[in-house]
Symmetry: C2
Subunit: 226 residues, 2 copies
Amino acid sequence: MADGGKSRAVVLLSGGMDSCVCATLAARDHDVAAVHVSYGQRTEERERQSFLAICRHLNIPDTLMVRNEALREIGGSALTEDGIAVPTAPLPAEGVPVTYVPFRNAHLLAVAVSWAEVLGAKKVYIGAVEPDSSGYPDCRPAYYEAFNAVVKAGTKEGKIQVVTPLIAMRKAEIVRLGLELGAPFDLTWSCYSQEDRACGVCDSCVLRLRAFALAGVSDPIPYAAT
Amino acid sequence: MADGGKSRAVVLLSGGMDSCVCATLAARDHDVAAVHVSYGQRTEERERQSFLAICRHLNIPDTLMVRNEALREIGGSALTEDGIAVPTAPLPAEGVPVTYVPFRNAHLLAVAVSWAEVLGAKKVYIGAVEPDSSGYPDCRPAYYEAFNAVVKAGTKEGKIQVVTPLIAMRKAEIVRLGLELGAPFDLTWSCYSQEDRACGVCDSCVLRLRAFALAGVSDPIPYAAT
């Protein structure tokens, strides 16, 4: 154990508001190593900037930024395929939206678990959220329960655990928790389609803006005039 | 369904003897799409040659070759980290050998399942083998059972199944099955360390040579004089 006796943990950090709060929480309790995966999502450069800025703010020196070529090649999502437009709100009442990236979180978790195995970390944090989210199948508790069984069966010692501290929280509660913990929301990026000013109208912006409004605070990042 | 009514399947094809037999079997029963993942393994160029040659032989037009940057960056294996030598036989009596690539098969399966989801394929074939193998944790039936629960929970329709037709077979039986099916063993590559002539002494070569010897046939690929 390094860093004053804290145990190691790997955190998946996209640079969005949820993963920022998740990383802030993990860094309070663990010696954290943070990973970002670019998979051809429209805003990957902006995400990488946020990732690095958040890691600097949280004093996380151990970072891994990797590209996943497969998800872009495979496409099938508005985030990775140019021919599919990012929809603007309102979100569909039911069903999986076109921003779903097929089986994406398995790719992200595979990277984090491989790295945890090599680092000797026993926990992998991911900021997946079910309520107020986009209805992605890989953001539900049952998915993470199942994934933990794979990690148990498929790693050398079987002792790594994927943890999802935000999974049952409403988005506004995540904002409040982030404020309590001092999460650097000003450094985050959630927009699916723009990299200079957030569009304010994609699924991700709409959910974010609603969360800040419900929490009664203003969102510190810049939005395009709409 | 294309190809005379056959349903679609995605096959993970490294170019080794097991995946070649697995692909031959899959191509008999399905309209196959084949995927190869290069992850910085020492023999990746040679594997890609074998992958393409086997796909040509089996009339598989739909191929995907992708690079996974993360496993090389993460290292921790003799296959991906220059500082760890590929051991020569005998295999250790117990424990996981240094050729184990941490949580590798989750990366491979994630690619195959994402692609299957976009293609509308309902099966993903992988030539994992438990008996006579290197003792990797991600080559055991329990691992695939757990992975199928993840696929069920984490995909849009939850209807894709990972199948492992060779998992309980002895290596010599796989040779016999391949001969029955007409699998192109001459086009395969299994060696962990060399790309021109197989070394004959790494874990993978030793297991392969033993399998052909037990099956009573000669291995058609070239080996270095030892």
